[in-house]
Amino acid sequence: MAIGVKVMKRPGARVSYVRATLQGMALTLQHLFRPKVTMQYPEEKSSRDWALSPRWRGTHRMLTDEQGRAKCVACGLCPQICPANCIKLVPGEDEEGNRYPLIYEIDEFRCVFCGYCQEVCPEEAIHVGVHYENSEFSRDRFVYDLERLCAQTHPVSTLWDPSDPKGE
């Protein structure tokens, strides 16, 4: 023997080939008739056994007030905390002294979906969403502007709550 292959001794008395084969065939035959676990995706997006987690962090959504304006006060905390530097914010101020975002853009390709922007937001304006269907035909469509962020309707993430780590 040129190379040192270690050969395990098989316990002859406990060896079984024919029975093991038949057992295996019986098992696969049982599985043939079991209910299937496949979810038929485009038609079926959640099942009894599986649904998207409420803590899922997907593409953003900007919440609006009763007049349909973005809740954002352009405080600048979200671009400050964003680790991917994907939020572009240019603040403006109206004649009453209320701050509002002149430009608010999120580059969803740069975003790492950490959810810090939602955590840091004092007005509960920007949120990450429970959402995952984001296909577009061009790359520049992935820079979401304020109008687009306000128009999103998907549910927002509940994020992880340190006082309730298991989400109960």
């Binding site: 292959v5 065939m25 299937k36």
Partner: protein, 387 residues
């Protein structure tokens, strides 16, 4: 004469079409059944229940790029898929698939070519199939392909011997190699189906048939884990598809052969209505349905075994072929020949149900120690002899 020609051409076209469509559906059946066994659904998007999936696959293969490796032996590389595809389809020509069909110009045998040497013809063309695989492996100029081709040749030659030996038992009992006669002799009752008097021959035959068709647990020529698909690594598009069709056509032929040799062919059990003249169209259709049902059962067995058992190691495969199957087939042949001589010549029995049952009892007696040894035996031992 002209009627014979016309009838033959019609039969060729119909059988060819049915086999090609059957092979297409079989690829779908394989994928769906394997999915079901793994608690999945499988391809069900194209057409109702995925029935048009093979058409989509075929279309894809037609428009894909044909690749030709720079260092390949071009002539043989092009020839190899045809070399494995054609024998796979040719073998079906001698298999009778229904009772004769009455027409105004006389009865038509429901077999493409009712050759007197029918069974030998199948063995001959079955062996030809290996050329396609070996040439594919060699001409690709790829070491994995070459290994796959070499494995295929060694494996198919080894198991062909056991297969041939197991069928000699059938020929001994039937006294004929013409498949129509083999069916006629089996059709007397349920117990004269060869699977009863020759159960062990059937066992050897089915194991060898799995090896001959390169199906798991004997799919070493294309072992994807070790040989990255072996002999068809370098093939793409329709040339790859032809190997694929050949594999499934071989399965269909092997299933049809098992049906014919061991399960009474198109014979419907428990009645002699189907195999006695006068022939009617209804009898032809009923026997055709019976034949199809039997073949489908074997095809299902093929798929079932493939998605249950793991692959043998190469030396285990060779050991099983030469050290177990071949001596077993030879011994069995000796025993069964002696038994037939004893029953036929010494006791003077003619071949009927009693004769078959006596042989069946003998088979059961032989099967018990055999399966005990196979079960406890050390067939799948370590790769090195213990010092």
């Amino acid at each position: 004469m002209s009627f014979f020609l016309v009838a033959s051409i019609i039969k060729i076209v119909v059988v060819f079409t049915v086999i090609m469509v059957g092979v297409a559906l079989l690829t779908l059946a394989e994928r769906r059944i394997c999915a079901w066994m793994q608690d999945r659904l499988g391809p069900n998007r194209v057409g109702p229940q995925g029935l048009l999936q093979p058409a989509a696959d075929g279309l894809k293969n037609l428009v894909k790029e044909e690749t030709l490796p720079a260092q390949a032996d071009k002539a043989l590389f092009m020839l190899a898929p045809a070399m494995s595809f054609i024998p796979a389809l040719l073998a079906f020509a001698v298999i009778p698939f229904a009772a004769p069909l009455p027409t105004p110009w006389g009865d038509v045998d429901m077999v493409v070519a009712n050759l007197p040497v029918g069974f030998l013809y199948i063995l001959a063309f079955g062996s030809l199939g290996v050329y396609g695989i070996v040439l594919a492996g060699w001409s690709s100029n790829n070491k994995y392909s070459l290994l796959g081709g070499l494995r295929a040749s060694a494996q198919m030659i080894s198991y062909e011997i056991a297969m041939g030996m197991s069928t000699v038992a059938v020929l001994l009992l039937m006294g004929n190699v013409t498949l129509t006669d083999v069916i006629a002799r089996q059709a007397r009752s349920l117990f004269t189906w060869n699977v009863f008097p020759l159960s062990l021959a059937y066992f050897i035959f089915i194991v060898a048939a799995f090896a001959e068709t390169n199906r798991l647990p004997f799919d070493l020529p294309e072992a994807e884990g070790e040989l990255i698909a072996g002999y068809h690594t370098e093939y793409s598009a329709m040339k790859f598809s032809m190997f694929y069709i050949a594999e499934y056509a071989n399965m269909v032929t092997a299933s049809a052969l098992m049906t014919t040799l061991f399960f009474g062919g198109w014979d419907i059990p428990f009645t002699s209505w189907d195999n006695t003249p006068p022939w009617t169209t209804l009898k032809t259709l009923a026997t055709l349905a019976m034949f199809t049902a039997k073949v489908i059962c074997f095809l299902f067995l093929y798929i079932w075994v493939r998605w249950t058992l793991p692959r043998f190691r190469y030396d285990q495969l060779m050991a099983l072929g030469w050290k177990v199957m071949l001596p077993l087939a030879l011994t069995y042949l000796t025993v069964i020949a002696t038994a037939i001589w004893f029953l036929h010549d010494a006791l003077g029995w003619t071949y009927d149900t009693r004769f078959a049952l006596a042989l069946f009892a003998l088979n059961l007696l032989l099967a018990m120690p055999l399966f005990f040894v196979l079960d406890r035996g050390r067939i799948v031992a370590g790769s090195v002899a213990e010092a």
